[in-house]
């Protein structure tokens, strides 16, 4: 394989992990925009997606399509329950206490998953075979195409939801100004619940489509969640294209770094990029700076 082919291969696999980061990152951004909370439990919904799919498919012998649907349902329910039990009862909690509560939630969810499904690493079958497709010198696994397709569909749907439905518009109103949204009759608490439901559903989709490529276990959520968070920060906490590009850039740079320099430092590369971006453009790559009002 010559260097050009190698590069094409790295970029391709980078784009597919980047798409996963983008999905997770958009989930972060949706909750953050609706509530101001950084949900450190986001990665656990990613884990739940993959693990629940494995459970329904391998242990209960449910057909894969149904297993995927059930797993998404389980994770979404988990997100809703988490919001109702741990987030909604809080009034006037400081941001730092909210961080601790979501961290506690992530430990709790991870612990329950470990008790239910054990500490083993599990693999899921790919959605449509393992026959690689040649594409401009790089080999593409069908699963990569699934990842691109699902990400595209989810992002487009969420874009349509936020710009064309009444609920979507109401959620955007909450992110601009919660009090004003409440004054015009929007049920802010319900919108917060929606944001948790949507972002846990998105996270679990990400976990499901990546599981056939990377395997899954009860503790995959931490790193994936943090990378998704990186994507959201690069994208300036936008719940749209900014974060998608953030995820793709992160995935590609990480894959190139791992391929050309050192695979051991692969995870470090993502965080070095993150620090550089925070130091140089803390408002994200694609957003203009805002001055703080006192």
């Amino acid at each position: 394989m010559n260097l050009g082919q190698q590069l094409a291969q790295y970029i391709l696999s980078g784009l597919s992990t980047g798409a996963i980061y983008a999905l997770i990152g958009v989930g972060f951004a949706i909750i953050h925009n609706a509530t101001g909370i950084i949900n450190f439990a986001q990665g656990e919904f990613v884990m739940l997606g993959g693990m629940a799919t494995f459970f329904f498919f391998s242990a209960l012998k449910v057909p894969l399509v149904l297993a995927v649907a059930l797993a998404t349902g389980v994770s979404t329910m988990a997100g809703i329950v988490f919001e109702r039990l741990a987030i909604r009862p809080l009034k006037n909690a400081t941001p730092i206490n909210l961080v601790i509560i979501t961290i506690g939630g992530s430990i709790l969810i991870r612990g329950i998953a470990m008790l239910l499904w054990g500490k083993d690493t599990h693999s899921l079958p790919t959605f449509s075979g393992d026959e690689p497709i040649m594409l401009g010198g790089a080999t593409v696994m069908p699963q990569h195409l699934w990842i691109f397709a699902v990400t595209l569909v989810v992002i487009v749907c969420s874009k349509l939801f936020f710009s064309h439905t009444i609920s979507g518009k109401a959620m955007r109103a909450c992110s601009y100004n919660r009090r004003a949204a409440g004054l015009v009759g929007i049920d802010v608490r319900r919108m917060v619940l929606f944001s948790f439901a949507i972002s846990s559903a998105m996270g679990s989709m990400a976990g499901i489509i990546i599981a056939p490529l990377t395997m899954t276990s009860y503790d995959v959520g931490v790193m994936l969640g943090l990378k998704g968070f990186c994507a959201a920060i690069i994208g300036g906490m936008s719940s749209g294209l900014g974060t998608v590009f953030g995820g793709l850039i992160l995935g590609v740079l990480e894959a190139l770094g791992a391929g050309l320099f050192s695979s051991g430092y692969k995870d470090a590369i993502a965080f070095i990029i993150l620090l550089l971006i925070l130091f140089i453009r803390p408002q994200g790559l694609f957003r203009r700076g805002e001055s703080e009002r006192v």
Partner: protein
């Protein structure tokens, strides 16, 4: 009695006496070993509290400074045979300088961005500890670190290490109490409330934030060196993201902006896993649950929550009478 307790000096003497007398009660058992770790964790929690509780700046990468201190001490003494005491001081200064340098760009950030940047820094250090195998031994760890010694007196038992570590911790608590009650401490609290207002009052906000960040790194590095010499073995898992989170949890559960609260938080979170042993695999679930419950029902931490709870419990019977 109550007014006596309000006196800072009296409180410190009482606290020190309690700590120094504790080994007699524990009678050298397994709990004594646990309380050695309570000492190290208190040291780390106090350091983080200066930054988080007083200056209001979160750090999710505190374990990195702890790890750098432990590994640098370990490598220089075990591999290169340097004097442990000199190494401890030199390493602490070097880690402080590093924190000072990275502090300028990092502490410009606020809120979640600050949390994310410090977290990123912590993870980069953690990965480096794992990957620089020639130097650190990689994931399997670094063995053969010597115990500390003074002349022919070697700190090789739990009891000796207890007094060594708590000596350092008590000294640090005294220093921190002095610091937070000084002009600098008032400056830090001003920054916590409003950076702009603090700047208007003539506080050099950026410099002060970076200085307190560096100070907390120096203390954490010393804690790391002490940990390395006590354990005589270090491995990267002790210095990961989870431990950084645990430290933040100690400070918040103990009570932000309370030095003794940091001790309570450190003691609770160090003893808790030992008590949860009985739950076996369920311990992580119970731990997560307690974390959520305590933050929900005692948002001010143990230091404010326990007296509040006591007052409510005592007040309840009277309230019942009034209703009747």
């Amino acid at each position: 009695m109550k007014s006596l307790l309000r006196n800072e000096a009296v409180r410190f003497v009482l606290f020190s006496a309690m700590i120094l007398a504790l080994p007699a009660l524990l009678a050298g058992g397994y709990l004594l070993n646990v309380f050695v770790f309570v000492g190290i964790h208190t040291l780390l929690a106090v350091a983080l509290n200066l930054l988080l509780g007083y200056a209001g700046q979160i750090s999710l990468g505190q374990a990195a400074f702890f790890g750098l201190g432990a590994y640098a001490s370990g490598i220089l003494t075990a591999t290169y045979g340097q004097n442990p005491w000199g190494t401890m001081v030199a390493v602490a200064l070097a880690v402080g300088l590093l924190a000072f340098l990275v502090g300028f760009p990092i502490l410009k950030l606020k809120g979640h961005y600050l949390a994310m940047a410090t977290l990123g820094f912590g993870i980069i250090v953690y990965i480096a500890l794992n990957e620089a195998v020639d130097l650190t031994g990689g994931p399997s760890g670094l063995p053969g670190i010597p115990n500390l010694s003074l002349g022919s007196y070697v700190f090789d038992s739990d009891l000796k290490n207890y007094y060594l570590i708590w000596g350092v911790t008590l000294a640090t608590i005294l220093l921190s109490l002095n610091l937070v009650n000084s002009r600098i401490g008032r400056g830090l609290r001003a920054i916590h409330d409003s950076e702009v207002a603090a700047r208007v009052m003539g506080i050099r906000v950026r410099l002060l934030k970076v200085q307190i960040f560096a100070l907390s790194a120096v203390i954490s590095s010393i804690a790391g060196s002490l940990y390395a010499h006590t354990m005589t073995f270090v491995s990267p898992t002790s210095f990961g993201f989870n431990f950084s989170v645990e430290l933040v949890t100690m400070v918040i559960i103990g009570g932000l902006g309370s030095i003794y609260g940091s001790f309570l938080g450190a003691a609770l979170l160090t003893l808790l896993p030992e008590m949860l042993r009985a739950f076996q695999d369920y311990d992580i679930v119970v731990y997560g649950f307690l974390l959520i419950a305590m933050t929900m029902f005692m948002p001010g931490g143990l230091v404010r929550g326990v007296p509040e709870l006591a007052r409510r419990l005592l007040a309840r019977p009277q309230k019942g009478k009034a209703d009747a």
